[in-house]
Point group: C2
Chain length 206, copies 2
Amino acid sequence: MPEHAPCRLGVLVSGSGTNLQAIIDRIESGEINAEIACVISNKADAYALTRAAQHGIPAIVHENSRYPERRSYDAATVELLRSHKVDLVILAGFMRIVTDVMVNAFPHAIMNIHPALLPSFPGLHAQQQALDYGVRFSGCTVHFVDCGTDTGPIILQTVVSVEQNDTEETLSARIQSAEHHTFAAAIKLFTEGKIQVHGRKVLILN
Amino acid sequence: MPEHAPCRLGVLVSGSGTNLQAIIDRIESGEINAEIACVISNKADAYALTRAAQHGIPAIVHENSRYPERRSYDAATVELLRSHKVDLVILAGFMRIVTDVMVNAFPHAIMNIHPALLPSFPGLHAQQQALDYGVRFSGCTVHFVDCGTDTGPIILQTVVSVEQNDTEETLSARIQSAEHHTFAAAIKLFTEGKIQVHGRKVLILN
């Protein structure tokens, strides 16, 4: 019997791409049976593009400045993703809010990672929000993207302790290392067909 | 040298008093150096009153029905607590919101426990809220009480996993067992003078 064709990922980035690198590494090691079909950046100088190129992955600059508004930018993004036959869209430090155009084009097939235990501390500067609030634990959340800000159904979370002498930098570093394996684990589950979504609840099959 | 006089606790309850029992047990075992000066219930039939009486603790029924509003009820509660020379007020399943009258009478000396990882899921039915949202982790939070609902500075938190087949009952039971040791640990820190509050941040001294 032929093996299952690997799941095709489209990774959207804006910056250095440490989560992208973590995904590339796990695909290359065979841990995740997937192929990165394209990396799309809304910033021309994102280092993530260099990482993609170094691994022979199509790296596309797709700037938002020449689109009048978010939905038309997203429509063009959807076209790009479809032309690369993407099954799963990964927001890996993509610093733009996606609209219903993207969400409806890839229902339950867009994943985002957020550096907090949602629903605590959505939005920007989640690590600093956690420090300012004075929580003892934070972490990261991989979720499907819906039209809200960090509100979609939760796939996986990892807890990280907050230390009394933490700064935004030290807490962010601790959370980031949790992000890498949590994101990879969620992608792996998706590629293995082990995720079912029922309303807000994500069921992991075993 | 004489030993430090034990910290005097005033415990406010409305129900069965499982957290009260956990505190009593740890005082009797010598784990916490404190004395429960009184247990005050706003419900005449709270089983917590029976627990108090069984351990020789003054058990006071202090119903709110004959008070026109929250602040006058709280003023009477403050009088009761002061007459029992209470140092630390413990809300142990006390199902009423306290007002500024209580908060100002015992600054940073009223503790509450909430069955969620605040700031997620404040208010009633926190466990069901967590299940409905679909989080992978919840827990409990011991915090100082301010004039908001479950918004005060966080002393300690304990994380509890949420299982895919959890019901409100099974999750509540798992969180409740975490509540007992978390509440006890926070009270012990207070009695040992190891808690400092700086704005929203609670520093645990060691």
